[in-house]
């Protein structure tokens, strides 16, 4: 029993330590973003020799939104001789095919791909798209995204740097005002992109390729094995695979694009559980490979490890709370009463993107926002919600690893009913 109590106490200290480490990390990011030199992206480069680009847009039952993104992409400011757009109709059962074929008939550079056999899901669709693609650079959008005119150019320009393997832009929710959930997700995005990703880019750590509003080198990724269709978080996996092989992943804070955030909590729950499952799957696969990587500096490895564990921390915290409950009923809380408070530093971290309240507040401040900063206390409601669903995702991933079962891809439900209102 003594040993059990010792283990429980040790674990609680470990949990508190993890919360403090992540809080310090995010505080450093916040200070860096506010005060220190910002490493600019390459968006100012004007170059007449940009590489050829293939835009891949995986679509599964996207008849509601398909036309919107294609209408914007046909207006893109990119040399038509160097651009092709491949919407990938992935086992759709609605009118997606008809929409895409209509665009293909009008625009020769739009070349839909219709998939009805093989593996389903985004990674498999992207692999199929890459096989068909002719562009040197692949740019990926999810179907609900709304790219501005100059975005393709902004993303493609960084590949004039020989060290860049992938780039990620900034995602901005367009349906912010829909309900409390979308407002909280908007805050999460702000903290995650405006501060977290940019600070990681400034500090030459490991910005994350997020799977949409981003691009990568087609040939090099195919040589590295393309996307693993067993992994739900193909974007995270690409980030680590490229980084370990000596490529850099950039973050382009100026390359902004609208997205549609989930509008219902159960949709959000499924989304975050999937992210957690996929991310933790990558964590299991890459934890030791990261530590042994030759091309990465110590701080890239250190922060890369913290990034890998980002969807484990809520599990650690959940177990820590259960642990503290156990210690409580065993009468052993005495020694921890003074430090127990620190475990709740995690309360205002939106898990996954892991942005503490001061980081989100800073992001809003930098964006010139005013009243949305007042919503920060509502992030408390995300605490248990995120912790629960992320923990569920972690155990899904654990089971995937133990039983070698294959994860089935699940698409995020769309809510858009009409033409989106953008900032033109």
């Amino acid at each position: 029993m003594e040993v059990v109590i010792l283990i429980l106490k040790g674990y609680l200290l470990f949990t508190i330590g993890m919360m403090v480490i992540y809080s310090i990390r995010h505080f450093i990011f916040t200070l860096n973003r506010l005060f220190y030199e910002q490493r600019i992206y390459y968006q100012d480069i004007i170059d007449s020799d940009l590489k050829s680009v293939t835009v891949l847009i995986p679509m599964h039952n996207e008849e509601k939104v398909a036309a919107h993104i294609l209408d914007l992409l046909v207006e893109a400011d990119y040399d038509r001789d160097k651009l092709e757009i491949i919407p990938i109709n992935d086992f759709s059962e609605d009118g997606t095919k008809a929409v895409l074929d209509g665009y293909a008939a009008r625009y020769p550079f739009i070349k839909p791909m219709h998939r009805n056999d093989g593996d389903r899901g985004k990674p498999a669709a992207l692999n199929a798209g890459m096989e068909k693609a002719s562009g040197e650079i692949i740019i990926v959008f999810d179907a609900d995204y709304l790219p501005p005119k100059g975005l393709l150019r902004s993303i493609a320009v960084c590949f004039t740097d020989p060290e860049v393997g992938a780039v990620m832009g900034r995602v901005v929710p367009i349906n912010t005002g829909k309900n409390i959930l979308t407002r909280l997700l908007d805050l999460e995005r702000t903290g995650g992109y405006q501060v977290d990703q940019q600070a990681r880019y400034n500090l030459k750590l490991m910005p994350q390729y997020g799977g949409t509003v981003g691009g990568f080198r087609r040939k090099e990724v195919m040589e590295l094995g393309s996307f693993n269709t067993r992994i739900l978080a193909e974007d995270t996996e690409l980030t680590y695979r490229l980084s370990i092989n000596g490529w850099k992943v950039l973050y382009a804070n100026r390359a902004e694009c609208y997205e549609e955030a989930p509008e219902e909590w159960n949709v959000r729950a499924r989304q975050i559980r999937r992210w957690s499952r996929g991310h933790n799957d990558v964590m299991f696969r890459y934890f030791f490979r990261l530590l042994k990587a030759r091309h990465l500096s110590f701080r890239e490895k250190f922060d890369g490890t913290l990034l890998l564990l980002v969807y484990v921390v809520p599990v650690i915290l959940l177990l820590g709370l259960i642990d503290s409950l156990a210690l409580f009923f065993l009468g052993e809380m005495e020694i921890f009463a003074g430090f127990f408070f620190l475990i709740f530093i995690g309360a205002y971290n939106t898990f996954g993107n892991f942005a503490p309240f001061y980081q989100v507040g800073t992001g809003c401040f930098l964006d010139g926002a005013v009243h949305r900063i007042l919503l920060l206390p509502l992030l408390l409601f995300n605490f248990f919600f995120n912790m629960w669903h992320i923990a569920a995702g972690f155990f899904d991933a654990l089971l995937d690893v133990v039983t070698q079962r294959k994860a089935l891809w699940q698409k995020t439900e769309r809510f858009r009913k009409s033409e989106p209102r953008t900032g033109t």
Partner: protein, 336 residues
């Protein structure tokens, strides 16, 4: 009673922090998505292009004289055919000139100017912004608050302050002593004001760098007269000797120093400063998170191609430098 009060205070203090949030959820004062300009695409001549559109729409067929128009806000505009602004005088209105414009020394043009013909500005002029559909020559010591743009060639004399951008669709010739933030021309040439810029040449053909070209890592120096046919990635600084040739892109996590007459058939990227020695040639773009110094006679880019020189903290251009395309800095842009 005290307990009741304590309970009220406790509940009140617990709920109070939520009230601004609840108020914002209900009132939605800041619920709109962050603004993204959906029509934005990087264009070095952006200010002038949008200004011209606004002006032509506002002016229409209005006759010469002073009128009230609306640009981004209501403005008074003077419309003239041929115009000459006397020395030491000032124009306080937006100025639309249907033919050519000439100004004497120490003239002040306090609002935007749009000339459909050529423009010749005297010495020590102060101008807010100038769009010109013809050629522009600018006398010594002129100051632009915002921008300058021309469809034709632009020749800028010594010691001018070029505001936020100086751009043209022809040759942009800039004399020593000028300060700038952005330059764009085909090409941008650093020359004495009375010297005719070099005529354009034929496009230079060379093998494009293939995707998947080999990369050499860990390099820190390349001796003089050496040739490399690969991309180079330096973990620290990189020093390239005189007359060395690199057929590939170069990336350094430190500084890059190119010796005299070096040739890079590719792009140069550095996390710190870049210094390019006299007579060197870079066929690609040059980008630095620090400063860039192009010594005399350096050429960046080639005819028929647009490349960029972007130095976040500063760009210094010496005499005889030619850049086919765009030069930009958020720090000090100097012509020496």
């Amino acid at each position: 009673m005290l307990l009741f009060l304590c309970t009220i205070i406790f509940v009140g203090m617990f709920l109070l922090p939520f009230t601004p949030a609840v108020r914002e959820v209900i009132k939605k004062e800041d619920a709109a998505p962050l603004f993204i300009n959906m029509g934005y695409s990087k264009d070095p001549r952006y200010f002038a292009v949008s200004f011209r559109k606004l002006m032509l729409k506002a002016v229409g067929d209005a006759p010469e004289g002073v009128h009230e128009i609306t640009l981004s806000k209501p403005e008074r505009i003077r419309i003239a055919g041929q115009a000459e602004v006397s020395a030491d005088s000032a124009i306080d209105t937006v100025f639309y000139v249907k033919k050519s414009l000439k100004s004497g020394n120490n003239a002040t043009l306090r609002k935007e100017v749009y000339s459909r013909g050529d423009v010749h500005l005297g010495e020590e002029n102060m101008i807010k912004a100038l769009a010109c559909d013809g050629k522009v020559t600018i006398g010594k010591g002129a100051s632009f608050m915002r921008w300058l743009d021309a469809e034709g060639d632009v020749t800028i004399s010594e010691d001018c302050h070029l505001g936020i951008s100086a751009t043209c669709d022809g040759v942009l010739s800039v004399a020593p002593g000028c300060r700038f933030m952005r330059l764009y021309g085909a090409p941008v040439i650093i020359a004495q004001s009375k010297i005719t810029p070099a005529a354009g040449g034929k496009p230079v053909e060379f093998e494009p760098i293939a995707n998947g070209a080999p990369t050499e890592r860990g390099i820190s120096s390349l001796p003089a007269h050496n040739v490399k046919n690969c991309n180079l990635i330096a973990e620290g600084s990189l020093s390239v000797g005189e007359h060395a040739v690199i057929h590939g892109h170069v990336k350094s996590h430190g500084k890059i120093v190119l010796g005299a007459s070096a040739v890079v058939i590719g792009n140069l990227f550095a996390e710190k400063d870049i210094e390019i020695g006299p007579g060197s040639r870079v066929y690609g773009s040059v980008f630095s998170q620090g400063s860039i110094k192009l010594q005399r006679g350096v050429t960046v880019g080639s005819v028929g191609r647009i490349k960029s020189v972007i130095g976040k903290k500063g760009v210094t251009l010496e005499h005889g430098v030619t850049v086919y395309g765009y030069v930009a800095t958020e720090g000090k842009g100097l012509v020496v």
